[in-house]
């Protein structure tokens, strides 16, 4: 293959990666994929790739001297010859990206969420969330949470989930009237009467691939209302931590449930 053709193919591969990075950033969809401190890095990376790809594309036909000759030992001291055939390289770099852009819905299916801890025992996740530890006395808890006009304290889902692994916090929150929001999904375990649902949010450390599901159980005592799977719901009720099959469950006995708008940052983020 001619060096010019190889340069053009390589430039195209680089520009495709650049275009995808810049598109996801410009459209705001990057928030579903990366934690905030990685987003400007990804944007800079997209711009840098655009410069690299365009520069090489525009100078593809230009001859260039690296400033030294390459000796007579037949070594691999070559600045351009790649390990991989250029067409194969283009295919390997572009195909998975193109398929992923076509397939992505910016969220996980329930099967992947199960794998990411949606139905895991809450106590197992406690060390992972240690940095998010809230104040421990009832007074501090009431002071640090806003109260709604109808008397519910606004909690993040993570606090309710984490309380399961902290006996002191659990005692303080037990029986409190709380309001929280998250994504609505089926409860697959310990739900013989079909009166339960699950509410979850994702916790992202760096990117969506390392995210973990943070869930609580919703108990309605009757057939739950119908909301689309994974839609955002605001629920209010009384918080309980029953021991079920030897496992403590964060369980909200729901008094009201309403469809809600997704928050600006849909996932919990590190700090």
């Amino acid at each position: 293959m001619k060096p010019e053709t190889r340069r053009i193919l390589f430039s195209l591969a680089v520009l495709v990666w650049s275009g995808v990075l810049l598109y996801f950033h410009a459209s705001g969809r990057i928030t579903k994929y990366l934690a905030p401190d990685f987003r400007p890095i990804a944007f800079a990376g997209g711009l840098g790739l655009a410069v690299l790809g365009l520069f090489n594309l525009l100078t593809a036909r230009q001859s260039a001297d690296c400033g030294h000759d390459h000796g007579d030992d037949g070594s691999s001291h070559d600045h351009e010859t790649s390990d991989v055939h250029p067409l194969a390289a283009l295919a390997v770099m572009v195909l998975p990206v193109a398929l992923s852009v076509a397939w992505t819905k910016d969220e996980y299916s329930s099967a992947a969420l199960s794998r990411k801890g949606l139905y895991d025992s809450p106590s197992n996740a406690a060390p992972f969330l240690a940095s998010a530890m809230p104040p421990l006395t009832r007074e501090e808890i009431e002071k640090s949470h806003r109260r709604t006009p109808d008397g519910f304290y606004e909690f993040s889902l993570m606090e309710l989930f984490y309380a399961t692994g902290d006996r002191e916090l659990q005692s303080a929150i037990e029986g409190m009237k709380v309001e929280t929001e998250g994504r609505w999904i089926e409860e697959k375990t310990r739900n013989p009467d079909g009166t339960r649902k699950r509410l979850y949010r994702l916790f992202i450390t760096c990117c969506a691939a390392d995210s973990r599901a943070i869930p609580i159980v919703l108990e309605f005592g009757k057939t739950p209302p119908a909301f689309p799977e994974n839609s955002w719901v605001k629920v209010a009720g009384t918080m309980r931590f029953p021991l079920e099959d030897g496992v403590l469950q964060p369980l909200l006995v729901v008094e009201k449930a309403l469809a809600a708008e997704p928050p600006f940052e849909e996932s919990f983020l590190r700090n």
Binding site: I30, Y33, N56, A64, C66, G67, D69, E80, V92
Partner: protein, 338 residues
């Protein structure tokens, strides 16, 4: 993964699996691509602008001290593992002690600022300082140990015969100096006076070299991210088996070293994949991050341009046992104590 098995996997993927794969794939790609770009830009400009003879000046004359210093050269001349093999081949040909060259080859992909930065960023919220420090320290110690051993071996048991023969003869024009330009041009064996001193030609060459490096790394990264996304979301056959090994103190580092060998990731971006292996211990991730940049499928092929096959096999076995053993111990001593 072979082409037919990849096709079969694609055909078997449900819409849910496709959506899960896509989210995991793109998120890891977005996270790692800027760091690959940074690494390949630096490596491309070093390739064109930095004379190889520059590195000799950083090394002490004492054989052992030179090995210790060579393990730190990556901090000054950061090169990833793909780029480092052609560089050390050139350096050995130019007379750099083989023990120093191999130490630099093994250490530079890990003990360099780009890898340190990417590891630290990837492990934010997951004891980043400890993981980054452990990785740099272990990478350095392993590379120095290999260098010290190699310094006591006959060269014939390490180097390819053809490369060994070239060492017998002094390279032409080694380190000669021009009166007019007053700098050393020792970087290329047998080079004449065809070089120029900068301008557009070298800039274009540097960008081309950076793009070539980006493509070389990007191809392996793309394959590695695809496989990781399949395991991360439970789509890949064997994902449950791999998860089952995660809790095994000895099995987990072995499994992740084997995975690192197969994935052949670049050291500038492999931390982003290791950080997503949340079922595995830190010790196992440390094994992944130390073994991978020193020995993987693509490196086996690259190493054969410099070293004898028997030596590569022994090196792979030694690295596997040493890194596996140390990380199991490290997990007990440091990470579990946290």
């Amino acid at each position: 993964m072979t082409a037919p098995s990849a096709r079969a996997l694609l055909a078997a993927m449900s819409p849910d699996s496709q959506q899960d794969f896509a989210l995991a794939f793109l998120s890891i790609l977005f996270e790692g691509a800027p760091f690959i770009l940074l690494g390949t830009l630096i490596s491309g400009f070093i390739d064109i602008y930095l004379p190889a003879g520059t590195m000799d000046r950083f090394l002490p004359r004492n054989r052992n001290l030179a090995v210790f210093a060579a393990g730190l050269l990556g901090a000054v001349f950061p090169v990833c593992e793909c780029a480092v093999v052609p560089v050390i081949r050139r350096l050995v040909h130019k007379g750099l002690p083989v023990s120093c060259a191999l130490t630099y080859m093994l250490a530079a992909p890990i003990v360099n600022p780009i890898t340190a930065l990417s590891t630290w960023k990837a492990f934010q919220g997951q004891n980043a300082a400890m993981m980054t420090g452990s990785r740099l320290l272990l990478g350095y110690l392993i590379a120095v140990a290999v260098g010290l051993i190699v310094s006591r071996l006959p060269l014939a048991s390490v180097l390819k015969p053809r490369l060994l023969e070239t060492l017998a003869e002094p390279p032409a024009n080694e380190g000669h100096r021009h009166q007019a330009c007053r700098h050393d041009h020792g970087e290329c064996g047998g080079h004449g006076h065809s070089h120029d001193h900068g301008g557009d030609g070298r800039l274009v060459a540097a960008f081309r070299s950076a793009m070539k490096d980006f493509i070389d790394v990007g191809v392996y990264f793309s394959i590695g991210v695809s496989i990781t996304a399949l395991f991360n979301t439970g789509i890949a056959p064997g994902a449950r088996w791999l998860d089952g090994l995660a809790g095994n103190p000895a099995g987990a580092p072995v499994a992740l070293m084997a995975l690192a060998f197969v994935l052949s990731l670049c050291s500038t971006s492999d931390a982003f994949i290791a950080a997503t292996l949340d079922k595995f211990s830190w010790g196992a991730k440390l094994a992944f991050l130390t073994f991978g940049p020193m020995m993987d499928v693509k490196l086996v092929f690259l190493y054969q341009t410099v070293m004898r096959k028997r030596f590569i096999l022994l090196l792979a076995l030694g690295l596997f046992l040493a890194i596996g053993g140390i990380t199991v111990f490290w997990q007990q001593l440091v990470f579990q104590a946290k």
